[in-house]
């Protein structure tokens, strides 16, 4: 599923990141394939895949919403943002919508606390969120 010629064990994390970007998650077959071509055990590959919060071993929605839940954001009412995402998407943190449009997660500080509350939508950071802004941002998603 992703080319591994000439790749070594030290490239594992980069390969997993590539696969995550391309496929949206890391299917079991992919991890088995990687293990084989890098000459590692499947459990070692799985161990790396599950260590990092931006890698997922479960299928994810086309758009991954990550709302920051650390203190500086909570002080700026991140809770209201979390609730508005729940309302807009019909799913709760940790869930993926049945139509595959959204996955919704809570995340730790994303380094935008000066413009809290903040979130990541896929690879992009959005700041100074309000429920109204959330509605706009999510409506623009495909």
């Amino acid at each position: 599923m992703i080319p591994t010629q000439g790749k070594k064990q030290e490239d594992l994390l980069i390969l997993l990141e590539e696969a995550q970007n391309k496929l949206g998650y890391l299917p079991e077959e992919l991890m088995a394939e990687l293990a084989k071509s890098l000459d590692m055990s499947i459990s070692d590959v799985y161990g790396v895949a599950t260590f990092y919060s931006f890698l997922s071993t479960k299928p994810q929605g086309r758009n991954v919403i990550r709302i920051c839940k650390c203190l500086p954001c909570l002080l700026k009412n991140a809770q209201a943002i979390i609730e508005s995402v729940e309302r807009e998407t019909g799913i709760k943190p940790g869930e993926t919508a049945p139509d595959g449009k959204f996955s919704f997660e809570l995340t730790n500080c994303i380094g935008a606390c000066d413009e809290a509350p903040a979130m990541m939508l896929n690879n992009e950071v959005h700041v100074n969120l309000t429920p109204g802004k959330i509605s706009q941002i999510l409506k623009a998603c495909k």
Binding site: E10, E17, V48, Y52, F54, L71, L75, I110, G111, C113
Partner: protein, 399 residues
């Protein structure tokens, strides 16, 4: 003490997309001077005399670290810039990278020459993916101008993990593994990335290097306090009117930063240094900010009178429990148990012996955890028990 721009001197002044605007501000002059006039040992001596200490949280003397790596035996050596910035409430490295990637590149090239490394890595957290392109282009421009003939810089992207900011976990991650911390010694300057001598420095630490080379160690050495030289860049957030990034001479008072610059009102609690930092009450606001007192990586989160200390500590410990790498038991189990107890306090369900258990656990974790996360995780608990004990006592269930 006043604001002073050493680290941020180009931020908002140059165009981070155009190297020529950096060259107009003495860009790469320090590198040229280093390569032409200064043997590596002299550069290291200069950094040592400057008194520059690490800005990533631990405050280790920068010149000493470089010297150890310079003297270590190794066919290959590495320079790593730590741009993982995962500490809660810090965003100054992001601010710097967004506005002045060139100074960092110049500093890494000087570091490479000084320790004898041909390759450097910038470990960039996944949350800063939006900076990848800007950084990559800045490196290419520096290469095209011929500033990186002796030294190659690669960007390595993280994948979402706070502990990967810890230097040994960071190296594991670059090596493609789980970001679990290593046993030490050996320390990175003797055996680091791929087992080779390596220096790891925070973004802000490196940003000081070109100015030290250009203006001399004695210029730098005169700024700050006895054991804290230079400036510090602070990230201020929370209950303040003007959150943001401020650079102050080391030794400046917390009051100046929080009240005068960030315009806070009715302050009750200040968390200095993020989740693993210290929690202090308002009446200690005249504390100077320095390595001798409190500093960390410079995250300042302000809480006003409407905030509850137990909630703050509870959320902080939950964060640490989540981000613990799981390798050592005191941290893995300790943070979980603390979170459980704090959860009970937060709903008024504490029991008499909980406070004693928190104290005992704190001691054990500080003494026996493998890395800085577990060793510093009890800080918020210990500090809040010291300054806000009655908040705990009033949440003990009465029956």
């Amino acid at each position: 003490m006043p604001e002073k721009w050493i680290v941020l001197r180009n931020c908002g002044v140059i165009d981070p997309k155009r190297i020529t605007t950096y060259l107009d501000r003495d860009g790469f002059k320090a590198l040229k001077k280093a390569l032409a006039e200064m043997p590596p040992e002299q550069i290291i001596e200069e950094i040592k005399v400057s008194g520059l200490r690490g800005r990533g949280g631990a405050g280790f003397p920068c010149g000493l670290k470089w010297e150890l790596a310079r003297k270590a035996q190794g066919d290959e050596k590495y320079v790593i810039c730590n741009a993982d910035e995962g500490e809660v409430g810090t965003f100054k490295d992001r601010y710097i990278l967004e506005r002045d990637p060139f100074t960092l590149i110049e500093a890494m090239a000087i570091a490479g020459y000084a320790i004898g490394a041909k390759r450097g890595y910038i470990y960039l957290r996944a949350e800063y993916h939006h900076l990848l392109d800007l950084l990559g282009k800045a490196i290419s421009q520096a290469r095209e101008k011929g500033f990186l003939d002796h030294f190659e810089i690669a960007i390595h992207e993280g994948a979402g993990s706070y502990i990967c900011g810890e230097e040994s976990a960071l190296m594991e991650s670059i090596e493609g593994k789980r970001g679990e911390v290593r046993y030490r010694p050996p320390f990175p300057p003797s055996r680091g990335l791929w087992g080779k001598p390596t220096i790891i420095n925070n973004v802000e630490t490196l940003m000081n290097i070109p100015q030290v080379i250009l203006n001399g160690a004695h210029w730098f050495n005169q700024i700050g306090t006895e054991r804290s030289k230079g400036t510090k860049v602070f990230s201020v957030s929370g209950d303040v009117k003007k959150p943001g990034v401020y650079e102050l001479v080391l030794g400046s008072q917390l009051r100046e930063l929080v009240m005068d610059l960030a315009l806070a009102e009715k302050v009750k609690i200040i968390q200095v240094g993020g989740a693993t930092g210290r929690i202090i009450p308002y009446d200690m606001i005249d504390t100077p900010l320095s390595f001798e007192t409190i500093l960390g990586a410079g995250a300042i989160t302000v809480f006003d009178e409407s905030r509850d200390i137990i909630d703050i500590v509870h959320r902080t410990i939950e964060f640490l429990a989540e981000e613990c790498c799981g390798k050592c038991a005191p941290c893995r189990e300790g943070t979980e148990v603390m979170a459980e107890i704090l959860e009970r306090f937060s709903c008024g369900e504490g029991v008499e012996r909980d406070i004693g258990v928190l104290e005992e656990l704190s001691n054990a974790m500080m003494l026996s955890s493998l890395c800085g996360l577990g060793q510093a995780a009890p800080n918020p608990v210990v500090d809040s028990l010291q300054y806000f004990r009655s908040a705990y006592e009033s949440r003990i269930r009465k029956n």
